[in-house]
């Protein structure tokens, strides 16, 4: 059996009791850090947040966006698979007739309640059209009203980008 030596402190030493030397010692640490911060930026652990943002990892599930077709229209066909898959019931879609021969359906309104969303990514998994993505790399911003957190089709498309995936199935 090994024996563990435990060293106990028996109160403060004389140097510590004198107080001033210890204060000086602390000031040295502080001053050294100050000099380092002023003259050597590169080693600072603190990030200058609103100006400098940390890049989230590539697979970070951030705020949603809706992708576009080549002509800039919304890629979503309002199949409601995302709102069906959504465990938080935060996606509200109203479908309409696009009057198009090939793809008849489109979302008249598409709303996501970010306050209700749990950022699970199930909507992205469920989407058969690569129409909804969570790869904006941003998180929801604070706002002064709950209503502002219900993001609508326009906002979702503003963040959007064209998708290169083929739509309409094979052999079309």
């Amino acid at each position: 059996m090994a024996t563990i030596q435990v060293k106990r402190r028996d109160g403060l030493s004389l140097a510590e009791k004198l107080y001033i030397p210890e204060v000086m010692r602390g000031m040295v640490v502080t001053t050294r850090q100050l000099v380092k911060n002023v003259f050597g930026h590169q080693d600072i652990a603190t990030r200058q947040y609103p100006e400098v943002k940390k890049a989230y990892p590539e697979r970070f599930r951030g705020r949603h966006r809706l992708t576009w077709r080549d002509d800039g229209s919304v890629r979503c066909v309002a199949c409601m698979l995302c709102s069906t898959a959504c465990p938080a019931n935060c996606i509200h879609i109203v479908a309409g007739d696009r009057g198009d021969e090939k793809i008849e359906k489109y979302p008249v309104s598409f709303e996501i309640d970010l306050l209700v969303c749990v950022y699970c990514g199930m909507c992205v998994e469920a989407c058969p059209c690569d129409a909804i993505r969570m790869d904006t790399g941003t998180h929801p911003m604070p706002s002064f009203s709950r209503d502002k957190q219900r993001i609508r089709k326009v906002q979702l498309l503003e963040e959007g980008l064209p998708s290169t995936a083929r739509q309409g199935g094979l052999g079309t």
């Binding site: 199949c79 008849e104 199935g169």
Partner: protein, 535 residues
Amino acid sequence: MPTLKIDGQEITVERGTTILQAAEQLGVQIPTFCYHPGLSIAANCRMCLVDTNKAPKPLPACHAQVMDGMEVWTDSEKVKRTRKAVLEFILLNHPVDCPICDQAGECVLQDHYFKYSAQPSRLFHRKRHKAKAKVLGPNVILDAERCILCTRCVRFCDEIAKSSQLTIVNRGEKSEITTFPGKLLDNPYAANTVDICPVGALTSRDFRFRTRVWMLSSERSVCPECARGCTIRVDTFENVPRRYKPVHNPKVNDWWMCDAGRASFRDYLGDRMEGPTIVAADGRRTAVSTAKAVEDAARAIQAAGGHHKVAVIASPWLTNEDAYLLARLLTGALADARVYMGGRAAGAGDDVLIQADKNPNRRGVDAIFAALGVTAQPLASFAGAGVETVVVFGDNHDAAESVLDAIKAVPRRVVAGTRMSPWWQLATTFLPLRLHWEKDGSYTNFEGVVQRLRRAVRAASTCKSEGWYAMKLAQSFGDALAFDTPQDIFAAVASAVPEFAGLGWSALGDHGLRFGEGAAPAAGPSADAQMEASP
């Protein structure tokens, strides 16, 4: 009677039975597209091909009749291969646009594909394109690319609607369903073709893109639009009815219902009046509690100065239970009151389903009133002379201007209604009512079939049934009239009304019971289960 073996199980059936029917009796499921129990047999989809010892090639089970000593295999390797091949051919030019197809979720092709095929397409050529979103009539829209040419819709128009408006034109892969030149699919039963279409080729224009079907919750109920009382499913989403669908009931409507009934749910969606209101002499409306409103109604009746100066307008829209409670009120505390029977005016009828009487429960209300000794005059004879208080139950009354004016001349007008209507406008006390899909109860159709009405939608807590108000009024006049559940009321109806004798609430089941069928057991669910498996 031939005896045969299906998948090793022996069964003896009537001569002329098809293999499919025999298999159904054994509980063996054979997949089908074109077969529909309510239509003639076409045997064109080939999905039901089964292997037998009587023929070298597989036989269509929906068409082939059984033979003595026949042995049938519905699940052999050969049959499985056949089904897979049939599905591959059917899906060859299918657009597979399930995400935007309204049928997705209740599509037989989807179900069969996952169960019997589940293989990717091997077609390298371009798919054949046909008409998309082609309007066939006021209620039906066609996507010819999704069509599998089973001809269920063509046979329906020929055999049930007797309108022969649909046909198949062209041959081979160019075949397409269409209407005859210059014709529309506008018969009064056209939307049934949407129900029987096994794929998403024919879809409802009314329901188009509104709700995905898997989000709907359903409750069996009765269509209130005419005295036929077709058995329906009220499909709701977020506590709002989204569509009616007919449900198979051999006693009433088979598999069908009319388009007018199907579209009628929209009439009740808007303009709901859900708050009990008292209207002062100067026209000021005060929202009050239900108890206050009932109290006010009772006071209005007492203020008439004798119950012979009270007129009560009953309705053939009352459920049997509500009618019983109202009849108890009208034979108890208000025995002296004059009773009028309102309801909607008669319309056109036909010899398929639609009845001229546009009220759902006239037969039941009449039977209950007759048995309890309530005699009602027609509402058209209401003159208003000597009436001090009028109590109106329901707002589905078609009344002439003169009658409305006569009612308006009555000083105290208690109206129990559901929505904004002329009746709401003339109320001095308004009692909010539940709609038919917010009630548990029963309706009796013109043939005396008593069917359950099931609550599909939660009503606002202020909305009550006509019977509840009748009961509360009777209680406020000192009558001992107290029931808790519609079951209890129905039991009381069954013991008090000879037509209802022997009928039990739970025995009404899915198909309802005809007057006098009390002792008979409820009909078997076999045909129904089949219908639900392949709508």
